[in-house]
């Protein structure tokens, strides 16, 4: 019996069209636009000026504040503009635009492709390197990675490191391909993180539809103590942080608390690979794997993409946008967001680009709620989405807070399952924003 989380969840057709496609490099675009807010927390502070020459890997924006991350130039070239551009949020935000000239890395970076398996650096040095490399959670939440390693003094000591290789989001194959192609690096990354956290146990959770990845990683960990591979049942949203913890160590993270409360720290496999590169090769986070997929594409592919590359460039690489495309989604079909424009850049949180044909892209009209409670059944957090939607619509902020609206992980299962096509998640997001605003005003008031 495979492990999984007990509450809710649903089975979505996984449509992993690009799982057999090796990760390809993509040629550099003519210009890159690098948003300075690619992570949760304070936006980085730009330290370059117009007409400055920058080299690949050079810091162009410094972390400003406790929760923040450095941003590096992904190319060598000239800064042409520092202005606001449209990004995947649908709004214009400050970005640094760089004209690409060549790809000349800064000297400190070890560009060799050999696997460096010896972990020589100290705990503090690991933390420092991860922070300098601007690593954030590549699973999508983009939370700065070094903060998870800084365990507060009074907090519980971490017991287990969990690596999230679930990739439950349909269509996306970026993490899957990475596990197949860079298994050694990922295992070393896990060991680095174990050392930094001071834990002796680690578990890599992989959904059972990636049997080849489970096999490859299991072979690699044969002689390593403390790491285990946990095959997980294929169920959405198995890759949610709290769902993964519940599935593997059978503990529930209390509402509003961090995973550390139950002694777990969770990293995505992509992040683990980035940690390996940062610590062993001194390489900052300037590229990531992006899946470009969709049923209408001739060849859905996985690419190594530099941060800041326009999505247009990726679409050209897969042979252009097919005519009947209705929506282009940044991310997967469940949690992703339709893009307003193709010119927006790839950021640290972009895991895939999905093209949906016109006939499937439109929402069905909203019908009245029939009280079937399917949304309650599928909610992996045990919430009542239909109720939260009503509360949010009626601006009952305090009640929605009491009904734990903030525990919602925005997985979209409720909106997916609703037979009346009600925009449950949209209203819950609105309610969450209102509750956060209310809590902030209360805090400020005191």
């Amino acid at each position: 019996m495979l492990k999984t989380f007990p509450k809710g969840g649903l089975h979505v057709p996984d449509n992993k069209l690009s799982e057999k496609e090796a990760i390809q490099s993509i040629n550099l675009p003519k210009t890159v636009q690098i948003p300075i807010a690619q992570h949760i927390g304070a936006p980085a502070k730009i330290i370059v000026e117009r007409n400055d020459k920058v080299r690949t890997g050079q810091v162009i924006a410094k972390s400003s504040g406790f929760i923040s991350a450095n941003i590096h130039s992904p190319v060598t070239g000239t800064v042409t503009k520092i202005d606001t551009f449209l990004d995947s949020s649908g709004y214009k935000n400050p970005m640094v635009s760089i004209r690409v000239e060549e790809d000349n890395w800064i000297e400190e970076v070890d560009l060799s492709t050999e696997v460096n398996s010896e972990i020589t650096v100290s705990k503090e040095e690991i933390l420092q390197r991860i922070q300098n490399a601007g690593i954030v959670g590549l699973g999508g939440a983009t939370f700065p990675s070094h903060i998870k390693l800084m365990v507060p003094e009074h907090a519980k000591a971490p017991e287990i490191l969990l690596i999230n290789g679930v990739e439950c989001e349909p269509y996306l194959t970026a993490d899957h391909r990475l596990m197949l192609e860079k298994p050694d690096e990922i295992i070393i990354g896990v060991q680095i993180l174990m050392k930094a956290l001071g834990v002796s146990r680690a578990a890599i959770g992989i959904e059972n539809n990636k049997k080849d990845a489970i096999k490859i990683l299991s072979e690699r960990i044969k002689n390593i103590k403390g790491i285990e591979i946990v095959p997980l049942k294929v169920k959405y949203p198995q890759g949610g942080e709290k769902q993964l913890i519940k599935a593997i160590i059978k503990k529930e993270v209390p509402a509003g608390k961090l995973p550390l409360e139950v002694g777990a720290v969770v990293y995505n496999v992509g992040t683990t690979f980035a940690v390996y590169e940062a610590v062993q090769k001194n390489k900052p986070l300037i590229e990531r794997v992006v899946t470009v997929t969709g049923k209408s594409l001739v060849k859905p592919s996985n690419f190594w993409v530099r941060i800041g590359t326009p999505i247009e460039h990726l679409l050209q690489a897969v042979g252009g946008v097919p005519e009947n495309t209705g929506k282009i989604i940044n991310g997967g079909p469940m949690m992703g967001k339709a893009l307003k424009d193709y010119t927006v850049p790839v950021t640290k949180g972009t895991s895939g680009i999905l093209l949906i044909p016109k006939e499937k892209s439109n929402r069905r009209p909203m019908q009245p709620c029939v009280r079937c409670a399917k949304c309650v059944d599928v909610c992996p957090m045990g919430l009542e989405p239909f109720l939260l939607m009503a509360l949010s619509d009626n601006k009952l902020v305090e009640r929605s807070k009491d009904d734990n609206i903030l525990s919602c992980i925005e997985c979209g299962s409720c909106s997916y399952i609703c037979p009346s096509s009600r925009p449950l998640l949209d209203y819950i997001r609105l309610g969450k924003a209102d509750v956060n605003k209310f809590l902030k005003s209360q805090k400020d008031g005191k």
Binding site: G90, Y91, K340, P423
Partner: protein, 294 residues
């Protein structure tokens, strides 16, 4: 027989007396004194419970009026000066006098002026749409047109124009309760003095983009060309973040600015049609280059 009747009457009367005594003690012990003026003041108020005064409803407002010593910062926008004056004479306290205000929509991005660049098919709510993206037109600052303001208006003072997809304020119904101002996620509503006969001149644009981008997105966008600033004799117009703003307290309604606006972003209401220059110049300018030459 008579014993039973006497016994019943006696015991019930005794029970009644004891209860009356208990109730009397409790009532006098836990008596809450309430100023009778509160009820009377509440009667004078419009009782629409709109929250326009900043307090949760008319009763709390009446309490505040009666209990606070200085009530010069309290004002009922719905009742206006008449109601406040009668309350002032009733309570013997000074109240503030304010010009009647009315809400205006600072966006004139009609469907013609502001073509759609993509389609939004999510929940029909401006707030949700604004959380998702900047809007389905090229303008990031304009009206989304899902009618959150219409839904929030307690006085039937707003309706959606089916042609332009913009909300329209019915000036006679608007009580300046501020609900739409707070509701609009794009912050497009503003309260402006109503003045006599509803004479108003205001800039109906909030687009903070640079001229070229703004003009491309909407033909009624303010392009911060400074023409209105130059022509204004009272220095009542300032430009901030690429948008002109007419300060109502300085504006004398001389109507010099509206005709010079190359994009028709300045709106006049309530004026009789001008005799000589009746036509407000339509947006002749087609490109930004031409604009700069002018």
């Amino acid at each position: 027989m008579t014993d039973a009747i006497l016994y019943t009457v006696g015991s019930l009367s005794g029970l009644g007396l004891v209860s009356a005594f208990v109730l009397f003690v409790v009532a006098s012990k836990f008596k809450v004194y309430e100023n009778p003026k509160i009820g009377q003041v509440e009667e004078m108020l419009p009782n629409s419970n709109c929250g326009g005064c900043g307090l949760p409803g008319c009763r709390p407002f009446a309490e505040a009026l009666v209990e606070r010593e200085d009530i010069s910062d309290l004002f009922c926008p719905v009742g206006g000066n008449d109601v406040m004056k009668s309350i002032s004479t009733f309570l013997g306290k000074d109240v503030a006098e304010k010009d009647p205000m009315v809400a205006v929509l600072r966006c004139n991005g009609t469907c013609e002026a502001r073509p759609k660049v993509n389609t939004y098919d999510g929940a029909k709510s401006c707030k949700i749409s604004a959380m998702t993206f900047a809007g389905d037109t090229g303008c990031d600052f304009g009206c989304d047109g899902h009618g959150d303001c219409v839904a929030v208006c307690d006085f039937d003072a707003l309706y959606m124009d089916p042609v332009t997809h913009l909300p329209v304020v019915i000036t006679d119904n608007c009580t300046a309760c501020n609900a739409c101002v707070l509701e609009c996620p794009k912050n497009l509503f503003e309260l402006r003095p109503k003045k006599k006969k509803d004479l108003k001149i205001y800039v109906a644009c909030m687009n903070e983009d640079k001229a070229g981008i703004a003009r491309k997105a909407c033909s009624h966008a303010c392009i911060a060309c400074n023409k209105c600033v130059d022509v204004c004799p009272k220095d009542a117009i300032t430009i901030e973040n690429n948008v002109a703003y007419i300060h109502a307290d300085l504006c004398t309604l001389c109507r010099k600015c509206a005709p010079v606006c190359p994009t028709n972003a300045i709106i006049e209401t309530g004026f009789p049609p001008k005799k000589e220059k009746t036509e407000v110049a339509p947006a002749k300018v087609s490109t930004i280059e031409e604009l700069k030459l002018n």
